[in-house]
């Protein structure tokens, strides 16, 4: 059963649909086509509802969810890491 869901095909992040423990292999299914998925090894504990990086993201890169930029990486993020306010920021506010 998937433990994560991805909104759109080019998204950089997967949303954990259950609490995920460090080291777990997480099946992240695509909402648009749930039979296809990305397997990602979690680098840290990720609470339900929080995001996991599906690929390495460089500092300054835009981070995609819903197929849209939801913010910009404030540091390098590696695949499997927790993506949250400590490593991404809004493009609008908090400049």
């Amino acid at each position: 059963m998937p433990k994560g869901l991805i909104h759109s095909k080019n998204d950089d992040v997967c949303v954990a649909t259950t609490d995920v423990r460090k080291g777990e292999e997480v099946i992240c299914a695509y909402l648009e086509n749930p039979s296809s998925y990305i397997l990602v090894k979690s680098e840290e504990d990720i609470p339900l509802g929080h995001k996991i990086a599906l690929r390495d993201i460089k500092k300054g890169d835009k981070v995609l969810k819903y197929g849209r930029a939801i913010g910009e990486a404030t540091k390098d993020i590696i695949k499997g890491e927790h993506v949250h306010v400590h490593n991404i920021k809004s493009l609008r506010w908090g400049k």
């Binding site: 059963m1 949303v15 339900l48 969810k65 939801i70």
Partner: protein
């Protein structure tokens, strides 16, 4: 096409509740209004902190909200109590245009006790009269409803909001009217909302409202980081306003937005399905209060981390897709669609679950917020008083 059993009011509008409202015009009249509600069973009192020394557009909005609340089809009759007679009459005259019974009781020259006695005698009659109003079968197209999310998290954008989107499509297709708002929480997705507008005139009106809001924030020298997303949103996994807004708009469904209302614009319900943007704050109680004042008779409220808001005159149906919230705050949650996260049900099935529950509430089933007496009434205030 579905039908429901509702109360057809004097002006033809359909309500789904049957309140006798005790409406204090101002903060000073709360005590007398509460006094009446304690004496007369079956009345609904809505105390609030405003109504003195307001001016300009802020005063207009205050009157709009008070008279709209009294005029709401869920209200059978209203009693307005105010320290001065003139302002109370202004609100009562607007309510009276619906044809429903409304009476004013001024406190000046009477004092609280005499006012409470006179108003209670009238309230007694109104409650008895209201008790003889019966539900009759009406087309669901006569329903005006509203939607909003609160204490959102990523489960809102994944599951509960899209489920509401299914209901919105279904209601608009059947000729009903749906209102949405939350101007500040569209930031980052305002272009998508603008694209959903049915024509350029609506698009320009919407973008002007959105930019005016943006300018207000800038004029205050404020940065909404820290307020938007809220601490609750962040705890639930939302990182930025853009992410929150993209999740928020999942509940709008797929129909064109064919109506845009600024704070003071009245809703003119047509025969065709209507999806309407209303300029509101994103604060739960303020937004639901304004939707009710514009004529909404039922509200679908999605929550991730567990917002508990209710309203004194319209049922607020709480929906979550967060399994922890559904378990930990079960007494607040009417509809749990968390099995959508495990892909155990389809989005259409989740939407149908919400829709069927809403039909029961329209027909009279009380929501959890109603049973828990969550009677938040919060008029939006635009600026300081004189």
């Amino acid at each position: 096409m579905n039908t429901i059993k509702g109360y057809v009011r004097e002006n033809g509008a359909v309500g789904v509740r049957n309140h006798v409202l005790i409406l204090p015009l101002d903060d000073l009249s709360n005590s007398a209004a509460i006094g009446v509600s304690k004496l007369i069973r079956g009345t609904t009192v809505i105390p609030h902190p405003y109504g003195r020394l307001q001016f300009g557009r802020d005063l207009d909005l205050f009157f709009h909200i008070l008279s709209g609340t009294g005029a709401n089809p869920n209200v059978a009759g209203a009693i307005v109590i105010g320290i001065e007679e003139n302002w109370a009459n202004k609100v009562a005259d607007e309510i009276a245009k619906t044809g429903k019974p409304v009476e004013v009781f001024p406190i000046e020259g009477n004092g609280d006790l005499r006012t409470i006695e006179k108003a209670s005698r009238k309230a007694l009659e109104m409650v008895q009269d209201a008790s003889e109003k019966h539900r009759t079968e009406v087309d669901i197209s006569s329903i005006v409803m509203s939607i909003k999310c609160g204490e959102s998290d990523t489960t809102s954008g994944l599951a509960s909001n899209p489920s509401v989107g299914v209901v919105v499509d279904k209601m608009v297709d059947q000729g009903a009217t749906v209102m949405f708002g939350e101007t500040s929480e569209l930031t980052g997705a305002e272009d998508i909302v603008a694209e959903k507008m049915a024509n350029d005139v609506l698009r320009e009106k919407f973008m002007k409202i959105f930019k005016d809001y943006d300018n207000t924030i800038e004029r205050e020298g404020a940065d909404l980081l820290g307020s938007q997303p809220t601490q609750g949103n962040i705890k639930g996994g939302l990182s930025t306003i853009e992410e929150k807004a993209l999740g928020n708009i999942q509940k709008l469904g797929h129909r064109k937005v064919n109506c845009v209302l600024d704070y003071l614009d009245p809703l003119n319900k047509g025969k065709e399905g209507t999806l309407c943007f209303v300029n509101t704050s994103s604060a739960a109680a303020e937004a639901v209060t304004l939707f009710a004042a514009k004529g909404s008779v039922v509200h679908l409220f999605t929550t991730g981390q567990g917002n508990i808001v209710g309203n004194p005159i319209i049922p607020v149906i709480k929906i979550t897709a967060n399994p922890k919230t559904a378990a930990q705050m079960a007494e607040h949650i009417d509809v749990d669609v968390s099995d959508l996260l495990d892909l155990k049900i389809s989005l259409e099935e989740a939407g149908e679950r919400v829709y069927q529950y809403m039909l029961r509430v329209l027909n009279g089933r009380l929501t959890r917020a109603e049973v828990l007496q969550h009677d938040e009434f919060s008029p939006i205030k635009l600026y300081i008083s004189a």
